[in-house]
């Protein structure tokens, strides 16, 4: 019967001709293309880090590549992973879905991983140039300027007055926020790139002139190390201490214990650092602030932790007089009242006439803002052509070295990320100046913004692939969130309150690799291709090509009909659909 059955007619249509002969691309009037866009975090990062890509690489377990991606834009991952106020997280699109990605936690993890495995970064360096630059000040701005100048091919010497580099990071930030090893890791990486740091080298106001024979430019990043005077009676008493000096003395090991009640005047991060250091030294701390808690320039999370640790805060009081009584100080406080609020909700305060009170304290710390230690650090009044940039000021005297002022000397926001931005901007400006002209600087800087800034990208400046990124900043509504799942943000493990008060141990603890991967995986990777291959899966014409080398995706326009499925199904809007020129 089987033989009989084989004679039953069986006409089955089949073709051995490949469908490749049917070039369906000729039907197309819309053209999909890979069009990577700018994530809001990366545009908001003052250091210009390519955050969406860093998170993508971390989620893929490519820790070294992720770390190198940071180093292209920021030589301070260990530091920024800890003390940067992370504006990136404040604009994270994921906030509208569940919670922002803990970008800083992942950054710190990457820096620690690189250090643990003693990784050597593969960061591109341009060919050597003949110009030499002197950097005055081994703080974050000066070291960043030197680091980026080295990447651009210049040789650089850093002159640091203290016995160890780091500036405010070394002497002004308490250890419980930034352990010494973290800072030293970053500085070691900077030195490994070829930056020469000369410590114990105090330079005077004649330095720029003296340097003319040896250097083509001088970068001044000496920072603000002198506390602003309050201007009240009794300020000169020995029991009235400068907050920054106090923090420095702790870091120098000169102060190991402090009993009694200390009043701290101010509402910035220095005031909080002083107060939290005092409770660790065994004393009591009372912060006196003339506005309200919500108006304090200190980071809200730091204020919260200070209060948890027993620091007291008195709002709406301004000191008017300090006097001695026995071995203590009497602090006379003027009560303040809110008269108005500005557009950002910050209070304008006025004295509450006639309302005063006195408090008895053992000493008073001033933390009311800082200024340059030397008057010649001030950029005003320098002779020559001046070019004001967002975070640096270049003065070209006509002859002799070019002067660039950077870091806290010019930055409106005084953060480590802004110091990195300043150093980077200075390096780009000097390179453009050396290779071109002073007029070319601003257009060149503008071309290197990520999105609309403030992020400034050295990768773009150096001609890396990030320059192809569309500056359009992706909003939440432009994502296809069907492909994402709710996942709570990582809970940062911390020392218990009781443990914190016993020492200057770092409060934020390390996280494990799998937690770091999970957190990085929460990132939407807004606007960039993470090779999820939705486009490949959905393409009805198999016109999406996955390149084995470089993991790139591209489109075979011989067959792409322009249906646009790939664009719609891309979760992260890394594609675009354009009309064909017909």
């Amino acid at each position: 019967m089987n033989e009989l059955a084989n004679t039953i007619p069986l006409l089955v249509p089949h073709s051995s001709q490949s469908t490749e002969s049917n070039k369906t691309g000729s039907w197309r009037f819309l053209r999909p293309l890979f069009d990577e866009k700018t994530s809001p975090c990366s545009a908001a990062c003052p250091a210009g880090e390519d955050i969406a890509r860093i998170e993508m690489l971390t989620a893929q377990g490519l820790f070294k590549e992720a770390w190198e991606t940071i180093l292209r834009e920021n030589p301070f991952p260990s530091v920024c992973g800890r003390i940067c106020p992370h504006p990136c997280e404040g604009v994270c699109n994921r906030r509208e879905y569940d919670e922002a990605v803990a970008v800083h936690t992942v950054e710190r993890f990457l820096a620690e991983t690189a250090s643990r495995y003693d990784l050597k970064p593969n960061v591109e360096k341009l060919t050597a140039k003949k110009q030499k630059v002197a950097v005055v000040g081994g703080g974050p701005a000066g070291l960043s300027a030197a680091y980026f100048l080295i990447l651009l091919g210049y040789s650089c010497d850093v002159f640091e007055a203290m016995q160890e580099p780091g500036g405010i990071l070394r002497w002004g930030i308490p250890l419980y926020r930034l352990p010494l090893s973290a800072l030293r890791n970053d500085i070691a990486q900077i030195e490994a790139r070829g930056v020469q740091i000369r410590t114990g080298q105090q330079v005077g106001r004649e330095f720029p002139r003296e340097a003319a024979s040896r250097y083509d430019a001088v970068f001044l990043g000496c920072g603000h190390s002198r506390t602003v005077e309050i201007g009240i009676t009794g300020e000169e008493m020995s029991a009235v201490v400068d907050g920054l000096t106090f923090l420095k003395q702790i870091r120098q090991g000169k102060i190991t214990s402090l009993r009694g009640l200390s009043a701290i005047i101010g509402g910035g991060n220095t005031a909080i650092d002083v107060a939290r250091s005092i409770v660790r030294l065994g004393g009591k701390a009372l912060i006196l602030y003339r506005r309200r808690r919500s108006d304090m320039p200190a980071f809200a999370a730091e204020v919260q932790m200070a209060l948890e640790e027993g620091v007291e805060l008195r709002e709406l009081v301004a000191p008017v007089k300090i006097s001695a009584e026995n071995r203590q100080c009497v602090l006379t406080l003027q009560e303040m009242k809110v008269s108005n609020e500005d557009s950002r909700g910050r209070a304008t305060v006025l004295p509450n006439e006639g309302k005063f009170r006195e408090i008895l304290v053992d000493r008073v710390f001033k933390a009311t803002g800082a200024q340059p230690a030397e008057t010649w650090f001030n950029p005003s009044g320098k002779e020559g052509t001046a070019l004001t940039m967002t975070n640096a000021l270049l003065v070209y005297p006509g002859t002799g070295p070019v002067l660039v002022f950077g870091g806290d000397l010019v930055n409106e926001t005084k953060s480590v990320a802004h110091a990195v931005l300043s150093g980077k901007q200075a390096a780009m400006a000097l390179d453009t100046f050396f290779q071109g002209s002073i007029e070319a600087i601003l257009p060149r800087l503008h071309a290197c913004l990520a999105g609309q800034g403030p992020a400034l990208s050295m990768e773009i400046y150096m001609g890396g692939p990030r320059r192809f990124r569309n500056p359009h900043i992706l909003s939440y509504g432009e994502l296809n969130t069907d492909y994402f799942q709710f996942q709570p943000r990582i809970t940062q493990p911390r020392l218990l309150r009781e443990e914190r008060l016993r020492s200057f141990e770092e409060i934020d603890l390390k996280i494990s690799t799998n937690l770091a991967i999970r957190e990085a995986d929460r990132c939407f990777n807004c606007g960039i291709c993470n090779q999820c291959d939705n486009c490949y899966m959905f393409c009805p014409d198999m016109a999406v090509i996955r390149e084995k080398e470089g993991h790139e995706r591209c489109i075979n326009y011989d067959y792409c009909k322009g249906c646009g499925l790939c664009v719609v199904e891309c979760p992260r809007n890394a594609m675009a659909l354009r009309e064909e020129d017909l």
């Binding site: 019967m1 059955a5 039953i8 007619p9 089949h14 051995s16």
Partner: protein, 399 residues
């Protein structure tokens, strides 16, 4: 039953193994196991679920060496099998009612692509209103899709029909639907002779496809064809359907030689001298057998024509079996709105070119699982006997 196949118990005389008491659904599953099906895909739907439930366990615990594909719909289930069968493996699916309706597009594709897929179809009423009980409209509504359709009377016939379905499908390259009544058959436990693998292997050789997807010689199936070629393909299917009728007969011989059981396209019971023939399908046939016995005892010249095969419709066998009858009463557990019972339509069509053929009475009953009792069937007999000529195309009984 669950978690594997029990060792066979032999009767006291050491001959054929004892029968097992299993439900109709499991009779299907046992046959699928014995047929060594390689790919199964299905979506659960009452009253079919028991079939694939046990098959999924067989796949999971290694009783069967088969892939069970979980899918999100019946449409996908059949689509998956079309792909699998094209690769040259033996496949199975099962469904009912809405699930079969959802497969409709792919039912056409299966036969057009000449893929010998076998499906168990548990007759269930179509919604609304929601009704999970038996009704043949779901399967009969698919009569034009090019599937061979076999209707079963009891658990043994279910098991045997599935085995025969693979044999037939793989000879004529057409898909086969083995149809069983919801609950009356799918969920009813009956003694069933479950053959051994060796016996089944003798009857059903491994599937050796005449065409298949082959990565060594890549080709595409089912592309655009011009009208002339398309018409020829359709004619091929028509020829294969005709051949199926002939092959089924030969299959019965082979099957009988091994298992001592046979199921012809139609079973004519006492039709030789019958004046009134009751035409039945599915489990109603069993009830009707009791009625026939009782009527014959009373001297009534009644007969039964059991319709096993619906597609291809066995026209010649029907004409032959009814050639001496005076009246024919077709009992339809289905209805084609605006026309009549579907078996009645087919009977009338088969007889219309026979000169002086007996009148065909169409009775509609048992719709949506309504009990078709001995009394009701006897009433149909007497109604037919006492009426000279059918006054209307369809007479609704038990409403």
């Amino acid at each position: 039953m669950r978690g594997g196949v029990p060792t066979k118990c032999h009767g006291p005389e050491g001959g054929r193994p004892m029968k097992r008491v299993i439900e109709g659904s499991h009779a299907v599953a046992e046959a699928v196991r014995l047929a060594k099906v390689q790919v199964i895909s299905a979506y659960p739907i009452t009253p079919q679920t028991h079939i694939v439930e046990i098959l999924s366990e067989y796949c999971a615990n290694g009783t069967m060496n088969a892939r069970f594909l979980r899918v999100e719909s019946e449409h996908s289930a059949l689509a998956a099998l079309i792909g699998a069968q094209s690769c040259g493996v033996r496949t199975f699916t099962a469904t009912a009612s809405q699930g079969l309706a959802l497969m409709h597009e792919l039912l056409h594709w299966t036969s057009g692509a000449r893929l010998p897929i076998v499906m168990a179809e548990v007759n269930r009423a179509l919604a609304p209103g929601w009704n999970i009980w038996t009704d043949q409209t779901d399967s009969l509504a698919q009569r034009d899709t090019g599937w061979i359709q076999m209707y079963c009377e009891d658990g043994q016939e279910v098991l045997d029909s599935v085995l025969q379905a693979y044999r037939l499908a793989e000879l004529v390259y057409l898909p086969v639907m083995v149809v069983l009544d919801a609950f009356y058959l799918s969920h009813t436990y009956e003694p069933v002779d479950v053959p051994t693998e060796e016996e089944v292997d003798r009857f059903l050789p491994p599937y050796q496809p005449r065409f298949q997807v082959d990565t060594e010689n890549p080709c595409a199936f089912g592309q655009l064809v011009p009208p002339g070629a398309y018409m020829k393909m359709r004619h091929n299917i028509a020829t294969a359907m005709d051949e199926a009728l002939r092959c089924l007969n030969e299959i019965q011989e082979e099957f009988h030689a091994i298992f001592q059981r046979r199921y012809d396209a139609v079973e004519a019971i006492c039709c030789d001298d019958a004046e009134i023939i009751l035409v039945t399908s599915g489990t109603i046939t069993s009830t009707c057998r009791l009625v026939l016995k009782s009527l014959r005892e009373r001297g009534e010249k009644a007969g039964i024509l059991k319709m096993k095969l619906f597609r291809p419709f066995p026209v010649a066998l029907v004409r032959k079996a009814t050639s001496r009858a005076k009246k024919i009463a077709v009992i339809d557990r289905n209805f084609s709105f605006g026309a009549s019972g579907i078996f009645a339509q087919e009977l009338r069509a088969a007889l219309c070119n026979v000169p002086d053929h007996p009148p065909v009475f169409g009775y509609i009953t048992g719709i949506g699982g309504l009990d078709v009792t001995v009394e009701l069937l006897e009433e149909i007999y007497w109604k037919t006997k006492n009426t000279t000529f059918p006054e209307q195309e369809s007479i609704w009984m038990g409403i």
